[in-house]
Symmetry: C2
Subunit: 466 residues, 2 copies
């Protein structure tokens, strides 16, 4: 079994933990004492993300004090790095004019993210106060779904006409570079403004000055449309090892790019979602959700589970007369059902992950299902023999042991089948494959486990009573 010991006594993780704790206490200390010099020193010496993390625990009044010491550009930098909760808190503390000033130092996609979390009327007021040209871009970006390519793209990229020479392009890059963040890839357009290729800064540097961009560009560009799901975009970036992926409209015009650091966030977000949904929790929950939020997000699934639990219970009721004659059945039945649930969850974990990674498609899974059932058969047999032996020794009843053996083998085969089928069918109907799969599967294994075990017991009751 793979228990994983971590290597060094003071790992990178512990170092980061210490760093964050120290930062937080120093900042709070400085803010509580209104020690302007100390605050400024901390801001000077820290990465904005570390400041943002330390600020999460600060009081509102301390945040007001801290942000009042900073200029708009510094505030913009910290707010960009802050998590959603902190962004919302900070924005509530600022008036519209201050927000507008800070927005001037932010990229459009960050502005849109922040606007998206604001109350609708405040958002509208803010957009109305912007320059007309900005309004158009912002409204366009706000129009895309939050988890689509359009929703996560940035509009800051360099595009150039393919007819430019290398030296002309290099001149332009030097001109634009100070104003934009991502310049490692130039997006090359033709005379109809369609994206036709890319040139990396490296290729530009080593190319001959009189070559045109057309000569040196890579013309096999992988791009996405703005409606593409962010999960699919992440899969493309990961598959082709891209540093950025362009977003193009129906006419092949480039309208934005998505950089790899945003893709990492998407991957983390989607993985969190999968894991939480698999456990029957809504994707918005985290360890710092309030009691009310947690209840709101978990209760619905527990209620679904309650209904399915009644199914399992009803199955048992069918056999109450049998149980009343051999009460040892009551003690043995959770073994069969529980093992089925666990085996089903094993298959489920492999399948949900396989779907997320794009390894499982909707068709041609017959061989995999058959293989899974074979695995269930072997695992059921091994566990069934052990469980049957122990139970028959303890109860002095060989028939009970044999029934356990058969019931467990059947239930683990069913678990393998259901564990594969449920997520794939959910996916086929365009639902999230992780969603509540574990509830459906444990219900199926409970119901089948109880039914097979108690049904066999009823059939062979005379042998059990001997």
């Amino acid at each position: 079994m793979d228990e994983e010991k971590e290597v060094s006594a003071q790992s990178e993780e512990e170092k980061q933990e210490l760093l964050e704790e120290r930062m937080e206490s120093e900042l709070n200390e400085a803010l509580n004492h209104k020690d302007e010099a100390a605050v400024r020193r901390l801001v000077e010496d820290s990465h904005p993300i570390d400041l943002a993390i330390a600020m999460e625990e600060a009081s509102d009044s301390n945040i007001v004090y801290l942000t009042s010491l900073l200029d708009d550009a510094q505030n913009a930098e910290i707010i960009e790095q802050a998590d959603e909760d902190l962004q919302v808190r900070i924005m509530k503390l600022f008036d519209l004019n201050k927000i507008l000033r800070i927005f001037q130092h932010m990229s459009k996609d960050d502005i849109v993210d922040i606007l998206g979390d604001m109350p609708a009327n405040r958002r509208k007021e803010l957009v109305k106060l912007m320059k007309t040209s900005d309004q158009t871009v912002i409204r366009d970006l706000l129009g895309y779904g939050e988890s689509t390519a359009g929703g996560i793209m940035t509009t800051e990229y360099i595009s150039m006409r393919s007819t430019l020479t290398v030296s002309q392009a290099l001149e332009k890059v030097k001109e634009i570079a100070p104003k934009t963040e991502e310049i490692n890839i130039l997006y090359i357009t033709n005379d109809r403004k369609q994206l036709v290729g890319t040139v990396s800064l490296r290729e530009l540097l080593v190319a001959k000055n009189y070559d045109t961009l057309n000569d040196i560009m890579e013309d096999n560009v992988i791009s996405v449309e703005p409606e593409a799901d962010q999960e699919d975009v992440a899969r493309l970036v990961s598959k082709y090892d891209l540093h950025a992926i362009p977003v193009v409209n129906k006419r092949k015009g480039i309208i934005g790019i998505i950089t790899v650091d945003d893709i990492i966030d998407v991957i983390e977000e989607e993985n969190t979602e999968d894991m939480l949904k698999l456990g029957g929790v809504s994707k918005e929950e985290d360890v710092d959700s309030t009691v009310f939020e947690s209840v709101r997000m978990r209760l619905p699934w527990l209620l679904v589970n309650l209904i399915t639990a009644f199914l399992a219970s009803a199955t048992v009721s069918l056999f109450e007369d049998t149980i009343s004659q051999v009460v040892a059945l009551a003690a043995a039945m959770p073994i069969v059902a529980g093992m089925g649930g666990n085996a089903g969850t094993q298959t489920l974990a492999v399948v949900v992950r396989g779907i997320a990674l794009g390894d499982i498609r909707l068709h041609g899974n017959e061989k995999r299902i058959f293989k899974g059932i074979a695995v269930g058969f072997i695992n059921g047999l091994v566990n069934g023999i052990i469980a049957g032996f122990v139970i028959s020794q303890m109860s002095g009843n060989t028939a009970l042991g044999l029934i356990i053996l058969v019931a467990m083998t059947c239930n683990l085969m069913i678990a393998a089948f259901v564990g594969f089928l449920v997520p794939v069918v959910l996916k086929a109907f365009n639902f999230d494959p992780a969603i509540a799969s574990s509830i459906f599967i444990t219900t199926a294994t409970d119901v089948c486990g109880f039914f097979i075990f108690l049904g066999l017991s009823k059939m062979f009751l005379p042998y059990l009573l001997q």
Copy 2:
């Protein structure tokens, strides 16, 4: 509840699926007919990763034919992109000299990955045949753990002395660029060869020619030591939005870098591991594991679960006399236990994910545990009232309903506590927090659920018999 419908009729995912299927059938067609022209056309038009994926389904003889048509550089490119299983297959088909020739076109870290999957004696023979200088680098790299910073770093990066001027540096970059992959960041060293800063290609382009690298470099470099766990490295890259992170030895000398595309692989790998372990499956399993592999990887956990299932069964046995008097208890008890298991899994999913993302530390969790128990109390009460009402109506026994209510509320509070405690304690003892947590937690909720429910039933037996 969040069912997530996917947007467009033909999503990016479906497009990719079609593309991969078409590619696979075209390649197989061409290979089966030994149609050299068609094969060459496919290789010409495709991204190496797409070729590698299509090759996964080809027969060994077809792979021999395909690779014989390609030159060493083309073979290197495809092998670099292939997944581990395919790499192992291809390498078995080649003799040592061919492998050595192909290695000449690969970066050292890819070579080391491939060597790591080879039988030890073949690996030794290969290394012995390399140039002495290469041997040293390869042996060093082979010495690092597979999932450490040293194990995933590449030795191809550009480092320059801080005393160079911008124009000297630019000249050097132009010289080196054609030979190396990653040149967007230059690593700057002092006269003792210590890493003291970084300069991005963008900064280099816009700086004044007579500035030195020392003048323009960013001197707050985030780096890791080669022993650092890859998961911690990924967290740093993600936190600070880095495109590459340098690896330095104890003397602060740079020995390699890790680029963001490798970090994405690490994140996917670690997430797969977490999800599989949470489900009680070993990390190496995927949907295409053989029956034998799957059994080997799942059976140990099922056996652990079998032992814990006996614990639950033993708890029920304690109350066989009570059950024999009120056989309806047998039907009701799976509801209490099952709901506890589900509630525990909900907490578990949130906590394991929180630990993976670095949101949960080992200390100061009292408030979170208390909050979790409050959530368990409310969820238990709501579900308990419903279950109690239904059961008392169906059985005509109010006492049974009240017992269910109390047992479910207690069990869901216990589930919240155990669901938090188990992963955090595992983590504190440096075990993987995901490992088999679900088995421990469902055992705890089964045992506690049965004990509380049947114990209360025994205590209040006279009321149940009325």
